[in-house]
Symmetry: D5
Subunit: 132 residues, 10 copies
């Protein structure tokens, strides 16, 4: 496997398909640049998900997060984008992504997004254990 | 954008309308004055919201909080007022504001307000994920 | 306003009647005496409430707690009594009082009381957001 | 009152019968012996309960816990036994007992028991606020 | 009892069958090897369960965890396997296993699995107190 | 021994005279009143000392601290006075008293006094281990 | 005494002149403005001193710190200035002032100044206990 | 080796005689009884020492501490006695023992003793690295 | 002033030359790349110094740290280099730089360098208060 | 470089010879076996050193610590041995090694060794900054 930054997320088959369980990654080493000023931004992302057929490969996740190092990104947009990329890669039963951004202007920002979206989940039919 | 205190909250379009997700800001740098004695008061405000069409612009939020620096304010009233201003600016699906005021008379005060109000939300019809 | 200990709790009109929101006070400076031995007792009380028409005035709350300084009080009885006094003063939609008493005999005691009582609240009819 | 270890738990009338409220005791000073090796064991017990007619007297609770000092006890058995004794003494509406045992073999053990048992409580009929 | 590593989990009869209560073990001393590189991996496992007829014997649990010391194991697979072994040994009413793995590539991984699986539990019929 | 507040400090013979060692007491339960306003003040005192012939008896220390409950006291004066009383009672080789007073006017005050005073100790001649 | 901001620091006679002891104040409620941008700055100051003839009066210290609310100040300059003002007011045997400024540009700044300055103290002659 | 409580401390030869280094043990599982009331007392002892020819054997240290379980002991006396026993057993170059006793009467007691005593050590001749 | 990364450190005149005092900066937002693999590295640097004629300008410090973002650097080399650059810029009386690098291979690395070097400082002649 | 466990410690030239500075490594991933029972032991080692001509290479340090995985080792002996190996590899000006071993028999053990030994360092001649 390469050690170059890459938007390609690798996967491997879920070793226990059919059981709903939770995998979480805490990733304190994220940096991108501010799209307005070009100055560095720093964040810690936390990923939690219930896998279906596929799991996220750990090393490719590191390379994926690295790939944003030179990119400009607004807090709200990049958090949504990373969730979309992860969902596209492993098609999970449930996933939540939380980005904790470093203080700017004396204010600390956090963004939390989920899949499936809380509005689209039909609670009565869902049995993943995270919707209620 | 100005660097003067201002009650005008700036907004930008939600980059992911249609998805319910949560943005939070922790703002430890708030000060106003006591309306009785004119002495300084200090508080930390935490804002959490689910955006609809609009998001709160971070720098204007800083200038907005600054604008209370010379104003007299009772704890209960100012917390309600800031929530009203934020709701008017971005018309969110859901918002909660919590003010943690510095100790006075050996007592620590916290005020937490929500929009929509817990009494007016009709739980069965609401799907924002925060009402249950 | 006086600076004498007093059982008279002052109130002021809720600045935002009709909105259900939460006010909390943490009061680490409480002392009374043991009714058996007359020795000092110490506790920290935490008050949380949803105001209706009236709010608790902060300074009178300090004087009220001071008024127990020379009184003998059992843990269970005084916690219930303080809740009753606060409820009588502001007639809140909901209130919870928690007393954390200093260690005695190697044992740490906490008492938590609520209004309305959990048995008397009819959950289906209540919309204060704290009953479920 | 004696200062001898005793299995006799003293009680006093609940000062506020009819109101459901919670009393908790944290008891870090518990020791018994291992029934296999006779070596000392140490634990911290936390008791939470909703009283009905009677409350647990604090000093007799200390003497009761002391009474296990020379007795051999398995973790699972003694935690269930202490709950049974406390329930027999005060017949509470609800009680939970949690025992946090010191590390043995590199493993930390906790046991938590409740009354009424979660299987026997009929949720629809119970209004103690702890069953849901 | 032996002091050799062993996959054989010993059990003893639940001292209080019929009461639903929770036993938990925190096990910070776990090590296996990476199946790709053969390098050591470290984790802390936390086990929580509601026993039915049988309880896990503490010393055999230590020997069981020791038995993975020389084995290669992927995070997701080994966490599922340990749950399966524990369930096979004591057939609990409910069990949850959480593995907190040491940082690799700047990323911290946690895996949490439950029995019965959240998808297979039929909530209306279950009264173990952990399914809702 | 009485259980009334008393300025009389009891002592007992040092069980190991001739050895320099340190005894410390942390006393979080101290309250007096403000000499200006009569309102309650709260503090935590920490005593450290190297005994000579006599040691401070623990229960009488409790009664001594209790004796200030109704007395007015400035922070700087009372801390010096308590040190003087303790030194007069046990004539220690060395003693340090530290008073941590509750916040007033948004400011937290600490006072630390020592015996013998740092100016009067002749460092070259002193071997108590605390003067350098 | 006034409740207006004031650069006039009040003092009172040291209740125990001749004994070297330490008084410290922790002051988390300080705000001034940036002399470049006019935007608010926040800091927490900690004062420690050994009094000689005079002590700092607590309420006037609060009013003194308040007096900087509308003033522009560089971190290094204001910390030195506050020390100078305090030294001029009470002429202490020793004083240390530490300012912990809120994060700006992702960097946290602390400034610590002492009186007498470490270069001017002639260590062999000084017996205040703080020079070595 | 026995698993009975015993005042006999076992030793083993220092594996690196001639090098001054520090061994420390933290022992949170200590209990004895109050010599006045017979009620249980609890403490945590911390031992630090520089070995000479002999080291303290860990299991016998556990049995030694266990041997005080039924004995009455004053805080100051027992701490000195345990130091004396340890010094007699291994004749260390330096040793410090610290006993942190559970709160009694609202007061937390700590006792710290050293060998050789700070008064008897002739600092100029000592090179153990702990005397200065 | 530019907002581009730059190795040029800006300075301003020390507002209080002649007084030895300490300025410290904690800089958690540092990233460079590994010179072997090109992968990102992260660190937190803490700078403490006693200024002589010049002080470090805060914004240029931010831009200076930013300038390493694309550079390869070994931990030991870069920490020494940053100290050299800072010393060259402000010629301080004393400076210490500490770099806390993120975990790699399960090992956490810290590097601390000082100016003047501990070997070259002639202690008897130095009065900066940091050499003893 | 190999990824096999190895007692061979790799080094690289100190990038700044002549400057005394400190490098530290915190290594929480250490395991060996008890030489008496063969059961696993766990420890966290912290290394601090002032390099002379050579520095410890980070990856080889990881492989070196791994090499003890199957070896039996007493706490006191292995800590001294690791220090000896590290000193032999890089011949540092100063080095301290601290081993924090997991609890056994309810007792927590720490061992701290230094080079050069505190007895052999002639303090007057040493200028490494760590001997005083």
């Amino acid at each position: 496997m390469s050690t170059q930054p890459s938007k390609e997320l690798q996967t491997f088959p879920n070793p226990r398909p059919g059981r709903n369980y939770t995998i979480s990654f805490r990733c304190p080493e994220f940096t991108c640049v501010c799209p307005m000023t070009g100055q560095p931004d720093f964040a810690e992302f936390t990923i939690e998900y219930v896998p279906d057929e596929l799991c996220v490969e750990l090393k490719s996740l590191k390379l994926y997060l690295w790939s944003f190092r030179e990119e400009g990104a607004f807090h709200e947009a990049i958090t949504n984008r990373i969730l979309d990329d992860l969902v596209a890669a492993v098609n999970p039963i449930w996933m939540r992504l939380s980005g904790e951004f470093n203080v700017r202007g004396g204010i600390y920002t956090n963004i939390t997004v989920e899949y499936p979206d809380q509005t689209s989940a039909e609670e009565d039919d869902c049995c993943c254990g995270h919707c209620e």
